[in-house]
């Protein structure tokens, strides 16, 4: 099967008056359609940088990135980005927040709008369509942010620690929600997280990075029954084994 994402020999160096920071060095990575990849690594090693490069909001110093064979040079149609904060616009109601992205790149057609409406209904936000973000709980807000991303029909979802601002219990619930949505919508996703158990609960493959400049230290393939939800995975015997494995890779 052809790779959805190809990262080839990508280097990235940040320049600032005080110093030069080599964030990525000779990074190579490929991801297949339908995979759910988690990236873990020491903080400041360059995880966000990788996502920014894939999204096209940052240009590699050298090397190339391809999605479906097309070289990424600027933000485009391919990726959907979710941040740590939901970044909902407080002055727009939920419907307007969800369909925000449809206003750009000539995506504002009936088909996309009805897809947005369908997602909202399907994932339990139908009655809040005219409400404002301040009236929603943290978990619901993050779900709105996910639907806002999904209704642009991205090939690849980029999730940058999207649950770390939530309290523990909400986080477990939203992990289940998001995982279900991504599975149902048959999306490919890259999740950046510093939470090892989150990575094990949600993904099909974990990529462990070295400290900065980031290169791939190891790749751990997870083998769970595909029917299990993230929460159910946490109760599996193998969960602890995986945890220790990732932990050892990190230290």
């Amino acid at each position: 099967m052809e790779n959805l994402l190809e990262i080839q020999n990508v280097c990235l160096t940040y320049h600032s008056p005080a110093s030069e920071t080599e964030a990525l060095k000779e990074l190579n990575l490929s991801i297949k359609e339908g995979e759910f990849i988690s990236i873990v690594g020491p903080s400041g090693c360059g995880k966000t940088t990788i996502l920014s490069l894939i999204a096209g909001i940052l240009k590699p110093t050298s090397g190339n990135i391809f999605i479906r064979g097309e070289k990424i040079e600027k933000p485009g149609f391919h990726t959907g980005y979710m941040f740590q904060r939901d970044n909902l616009f407080e002055w727009l109601n939920i419907w307007k927040n969800v369909t925000l992205g449809l206003n750009f790149k000539k995506r504002n057609n009936e088909e996309n709008k009805s897809y947005a409406k369908e997602l909202i209904e399907k994932y339990g936000l139908g009655e809040f369509i005219r409400h404002y973000p301040t009236e929603l709980s943290g978990g619901m807000r993050q779900r709105v942010a996910l639907i806002r991303t999904l209704c642009l029909k991205p090939d690849l979802l980029l999730l940058d620690e999207p649950f770390s601002a939530l309290d523990y219990q909400t986080r477990l619930n939203v992990q289940d929600d998001v995982s279900l949505v991504i599975k149902k919508e048959k999306k490919t996703a890259i999740l950046v997280t510093h939470d090892i158990s989150e990575a094990i609960a949600m993904s099909s493959k974990i990529i462990v990075l070295t400290p900065r400049p980031a290169t791939i230290k190891s790749i751990i393939t997870l083998d769970f029954d595909p029917k299990l939800t993230p929460f159910e995975r946490r109760k599996e015997k193998s969960f602890n084994t995986y945890f220790n494995k990732v932990w050892e890779e990190l230290v």
């Binding site: 096209g56 959907g80 616009f89 404002y132």
Partner: protein, 270 residues
């Protein structure tokens, strides 16, 4: 958010009642303070403890105002000042907001102009009075210019700070969704700076009156500032006080209108 009728517990009812009592008593105290001050002023003046010729008195002010009203003079002078103020207010608010937008869009220009803005902001604008008169003549234009000068710099600086403080992540989000620079501006930066705009409006209500009255002190043939200067020169303190009272009322009304606008728009947005 919608308020729902609920069956509150007795303790909650008590709490609500105590809140109400506090609120009412603050209002009553405010009115009482005004009545007390005016009463003391009037009493002292009528008992000649203070010289009403110099300090005027509430009753003399009321008499003066009703005299001015009957004459049609008050309306004329108030209108002149109000007109100048509204003009200065509108021009400086709109121009300052737009200048700030340009500075925001072009960081290089912003960096170059930064020190100039800071100096202009700390410069006492009244110092430019003679220049304005030489350049713009002694008419309405010069007075409005004074009002604009006082408001426009602070408007520019406040709005620029508002635009700059829009969260970086929201801008990135817009970029990842494929928004153009113009769309980021109209859909994010401008609406996100709305509350800064309202506070600029509130500041400018006060500042535009300051600027215009100052302009009228410098050069004028009519207006409340003119009445104040004239009254001072011919020692008609009743006239000075009357003009000040009318100024207070007009400025208060204008502030109230802005506050109403804010409430109205906030309601529409939520």
């Amino acid at each position: 958010m919608k308020k729902q009728k609920q069956n509150y517990s007795i303790s909650h009812k008590k709490y609500l009642k105590s809140l109400l009592i506090k609120k009412v008593s603050i209002h009553i105290s405010r009115i009482l303070l005004l009545v007390l001050l005016l009463g003391a002023w009037e009493l002292c003046a009528s008992l000649n403890i203070i010289d009403p010729f110099i300090t005027s008195s509430p009753s003399r002010i009321i008499k003066q105002i009703s005299f001015l009203v009957q004459d049609g003079v008050l309306f004329h002078h108030s209108w002149v000042t109000l007109y100048e103020t509204l003009l200065a207010f509108a021009i400086s608010t709109i121009a300052g907001t737009l200048i700030a937008l340009v500075l925001y869009i072009i960081p290089a220009v912003r960096k170059v102009l930064e020190p100039y803005l800071i100096i202009l902001n700390s410069l006492p604008k009244i110092a430019l009075g003679p220049l304005i008169i030489v350049w713009m003549g002694t008419g309405t234009k010069a007075i409005v210019m004074m009002g604009i000068l006082i408001c426009i710099i602070i408007t520019t600086i406040s709005m620029l700070n508002g635009y700059i403080s829009v969260p970086k992540e929201k801008i990135l989000l817009m970029k990842t969704m494929g928004a153009s620079g113009f769309q980021i501006l109209t859909r994010l930066v401008v609406p996100a700076s709305f509350s800064d705009f309202i506070s600029v409006l509130k500041i400018n209500v006060g500042m535009s009156w300051v600027g215009v009255v100052m302009g009228e002190y410098l050069t004028s043939k009519a207006g409340l500032g003119y009445l104040i200067v004239y009254g001072g020169q011919v020692f008609k303190l009743d006239l000075v006080m009357s003009a000040i009272v009318v100024l207070c009322i007009l400025a208060g009304l204008m502030y109230g209108l802005v506050a109403l606008l804010e409430m109205y728009i906030n309601k529409k947005r939520t």
